[in-house]
């Protein structure tokens, strides 16, 4: 199961990278998000999974798609000047980092230790989250609310034609 969702996630990400059409890239990103949600569920955290779908795939991604459609730039523009250095260096960097990451993960003794000493997880429930959220972290919630307000105001202000 893990392998399936991991594959979906990574496939979505790679497809997003390679797509020419920006809308299609967004949709591949959505696929990736769904894979991530699945991974969260596998991790015993259905709350996180649900939140992932609702907020990320359902709000943020939709916002991005709306903006794409608003600006009407579906295809990537032609490059001003071909920059092979950037392209090939980035590819090389990506490859190296990828290989390095895998090597690191496989060889890390810390991860092995953590893996070995784990107990069976108790699945997360919404009640637990809500309880803790609104009792211990109430200030954070309020702050988040203010932050969202500020972001909203900022977004509106930034796109106004006349101030």
């Amino acid at each position: 199961m893990f392998a399936v969702f991991a594959l979906i996630t990574l496939l979505g990400a790679v497809l997003m990278l390679l797509q020419k059409n920006v809308i299609q890239a967004g949709l591949c990103l959505a696929l990736s998000f769904i894979g991530v949600a699945g991974l969260f569920v596998l991790l015993g955290n259905p709350v996180a999974g649900a939140l992932q779908i609702i907020v990320y795939a359902g709000a943020i991604l939709i916002l991005v798609l709306f903006v794409i459609m608003l600006l009407n730039h579906h295809e990537e523009e032609a490059a001003e000047k071909a920059r092979p250095v950037q392209r090939w260096a980035s590819v090389a960097l990506t490859a190296l980092l990828g290989a390095g990451a895998i090597a690191l993960v496989l060889s890390s003794p810390g991860l092995k230790a953590l893996n070995a000493g784990a107990t069976a997880a108790v699945p997360m429930t919404l009640e637990r989250v809500g309880e803790t959220l609104f009792s211990d972290h109430l200030l954070a919630v309020e702050a988040i609310g203010l932050m969202l307000l500020a972001a909203m105001v900022a977004a509106v202000t930034l796109v106004k034609k006349e101030l």
């Binding site: 990574l10 990736s32 969260f40 903006v67 523009e77 993960v105 893996n115 959220l133």
Partner: protein
């Protein structure tokens, strides 16, 4: 390879790292600002995966999920403001190509 595919901690961390790297690659290789934004979101998600994976193997903290909630909230704000900026930039320059919007040199 087996720990990677069997749903052990290494697997989740590997996925997180690879997602991050792909997100980085998107920022490096695509010129459209919105594509770069999507790469950034991907990187954020990778961090989330890593966060929750570690949380599960350290005893299933509820704090982790709350932290995750905060991260999503922040991501949402950032998305709103960022996209507003992209629209503003498009209004001024008529382009959303990252290379064309650089004005440091001619």
């Amino acid at each position: 390879m087996s720990p990677l595919l069997s749903g052990a901690l290494q697997g989740y961390i590997a996925v997180a790292l690879l997602l991050f790297i792909i997100g980085l690659a998107t920022v490096l290789l695509r010129r459209t600002l919105l594509m770069q934004f999507m790469g950034v979101e991907l990187m954020l998600n990778a961090a989330n995966v890593a966060l929750l994976a570690f949380a599960r193997w350290r005893g299933g903290d509820v704090e982790a999920t709350i932290f995750y909630l905060m991260i999503i909230a922040v991501a949402a704000c950032e998305a709103a403001v960022g996209l507003a900026l992209v629209i503003g930039l498009h209004r001024m320059r008529g382009t959303t190509d990252a290379d064309r919007t650089a004005t440091l040199k001619q």
